[in-house]
Amino acid sequence: MTTEVVLKIAISGVLTGLVYGLMALGLSVIFGVVRVVNFAHGEMMTIAMYLVIVFFSALGLDPLLMLVPISAVLFALGYLMQRAIINPFINRPEHSQFMLLVAVALIMVNALLLIFGPDSQGITTSYSFDSFDVGGIIIDAGKVYAAIAALIVAVALFSFFRLTLTGKAIRACADNYNGALVVGLDVKRLYSLTFGIGAACVGAAGTMLMIVTDVTPAIGPAYTLLAFVIVITGGLGSMPGAIVGGILIGLTEALGGFFFTPSAKTMFSFGILVLVLLFRPQGIMGRKTA
């Protein structure tokens, strides 16, 4: 077992973790502002993944070129979902919101099953089988591109929330709902925008994931669960926490699988989750609530 192999595994874990982090970022943004737990998160990502398949098959478009259009489609989907379905449930008990989103998730899975069938589907780009040799360390080219794109989207999102007026207004809603109403912010529109932005993150993550993996309609719930593990580990509602959580989970799964047994690598990410819940319940970068 050489250092190169361990480094290769670690780099692969970090790169995958960055894409997972982007996916979880969407969940964190939505929860941080709208205070709704999106149980259809993974399913929305599978919709984005199937959009990649459709556009790739029809037009031969590279996923990297589809990043912005598919994120825009998912933004529209998220915006409309919030407006039409979720807004009426905002002030209802949490279990009603949970059931609503679980129902939406089931509808999405079955719709995908009806349209695309149960078989696993993937795409083969010109760089699908490429890898970089950096001093004897073999790195998957697709994962590098996907991780760089995920990083760019995350930085753009942070900048949006820090530097734009709309971003600041959304943060104001998250910090103080009543205060936002008092100063005259259109909270309903901002909620819809936020849900749309969260969905766009998922769209970007799904587009990038298609470079490195395949999709089946049934994979959605597994991604939803993974997103929950990441945001709880990183800190529910914390945007940097989602990225840090993603990297940590990706790295833990990779190294745990390598040094122990690969069949139990998911166990290690749940182990991290349990440790965080025990010793830092607010998550690694989450804020303590009073």
């Binding site: 692969s12 099953l113 149960p118 089988f129 490429d130 994979i219 047994t261 690969p262 690598k265």
Partner: protein, 410 residues
């Protein structure tokens, strides 16, 4: 107040007449039972992680009716059930199909799901013919209504070693070391348990196993597993996998720039059409040691023709063959039993002796445990998007190509 019922002479005569009519038409009831189609509940994983394979088995179901007609066997009324790749759902669906009138069950591709269905079938006293499931315990329970026309994991393994030795002797080139990767579900674990013991019985096996790696078949990324396998510097990769993981592993082999001399698969995945279609020329080379079909048998050619007509361009495989043969067993038993009575059907299945079949070996017979112990496996190889049978020699149609062409030279 009690009232006496008096039987008059007229009533007695009418009663006797009615009894005579019933007695006289009794033989027609049997004929009518034979004429009616046998209701067969086909349980398959039509959705969930194994949906692709379940759908492939369904293709075997779809082409059966015409072939049974040609063989002058009774018609089957197929009742479909989806196990959703879930053991508990498989159990519930089996119960539901029986409640809805299924007179015989067939399925369910997976050992875990088949075990659950076998328990229900035995409890309800309904015959169950397993199409594909290799875990040995299913036919070790003393069940009276459960039959399996599919080799158990130890048989698959033993035949795999026999065929490998034959291939390596024929090519004059053999790997010295191997890494064994297996999926961690019921089938994969059963195969792993049998692997070491079976290998020890075959002293001519040319390679020694450097490491065994178990992995989750539903994993989204298998780069760690392949990196771990590559780190052993083994010359061959021995696999027990499913379809999606076989594709993921091949992609990783290419990306991680590792071309083993041989990929030796002892399970599904590597020979399936979706694998060949998805990977193109990168899918060529792996050898699969699997329950297959004898391409030289008459019924194999008929089944191939029926499949080609229904699904042009599709390669015939284990899923089609063994699902068809399970239905063949059902129809043959129904014809001989002359009734859909579950016990009569089970007795007829136990007495099965089908010589005109598809799978390699002498034909379909069941031992006292309900297992067809006479089945033989084959070795097949992917060549130019097609499949050729390379061993055993008596049931082959091509010579083996070994070592495998490196991925970067294709």
């Amino acid at each position: 107040m009690a009232s006496k019922t008096r039987i008059s002479r007229r009533t007695f005569t009418a009663g006797m007449g009615a009894a005579g009519i019933v007695a006289g038409t009794a033989p027609f009831n049997i004929i009518s039972a034979q004429g009616a189609p046998l209701k067969v509940g086909v349980l398959l994983p039509r959705s969930g992680a194994q949906a692709g394979i379940g759908q492939d088995c369904q293709r075997g179901v779809d082409i059966t009716a015409g072939l049974l007609k040609d063989l002058k066997l009774p018609t089957l009324q197929i009742m479909n059930g989806d196990t959703e790749t879930n053991v508990e759902v498989a159990r519930a669906r089996a119960e539901r199909l029986i409640n809805e009138g299924a007179q015989l069950l067939v399925g369910a591709f997976d050992s875990g799901q088949s075990t659950a269905i076998a328990q229900v079938a035995e409890q309800k006293g309904i015959p169950y013919v397993i199409n594909i499931a290799a875990a040995p315990p299913i036919t070790e329970q003393g069940y009276k209504f459960v039959f399996r026309n599919f080799p158990t994991a130890p048989t698959i393994l033993a035949n795999a070693f026999e065929n490998q030795i034959e291939i390596f002797k024929a090519t004059g080139n053999a790997p010295k070391t191997a890494v064994f990767m297996h999926v961690n579900d019921t089938f994969g674990t059963a195969m792993q348990k049998g692997f070491t013991g079976t290998m020890a019985r075959f002293a001519d096996t040319p390679y020694k196993v450097l490491e065994t790696i178990a992995y989750d078949g539903t994993a989204r990324d298998l780069s760690v597993e392949v990196a771990k396998a590559k780190a052993t510097n083994a010359e061959a990769l021995v696999m027990v996998s499913r379809l999606n993981d076989a594709i993921l592993i091949t992609r990783e082999l290419v990306k991680q720039r590792w071309s083993p001399k041989a990929v030796l698969s002892m399970g599904p995945g590597w020979y399936e059409d979706q694998y060949l279609k998805t990977l193109g020329k990168l899918g060529d080379g792996p050898m699969s040691f699997v329950p297959w079909y004898d391409p030289n048998k008459k019924l194999s050619k008929a089944l191939e023709a029926a499949l080609a007509k229904a699904h042009p361009g599709l390669n015939m495989n284990t899923n089609h063959v063994y699902t068809f043969e399970a239905l063949l067993v059902a129809a043959d038993a129904y014809k001989r039993a002359g009734s859909a009575d579950p016990k009569a059907l089970a007795d007829a299945i136990r007495a099965t002796n089908i010589k005109d079949n598809v799978s390699p070996g002498p034909g379909i017979q069941f031992d006292a445990k309900g297992q067809n112990a006479a089945l033989k496996n084959s070795a097949i190889q992917n060549r130019g998007g097609k499949l050729v049978t390379i061993a055993p020699k008596e049931a082959s149609n091509a010579k083996p190509e070994h070592p495998m062409k490196p991925y970067d030279k294709r």
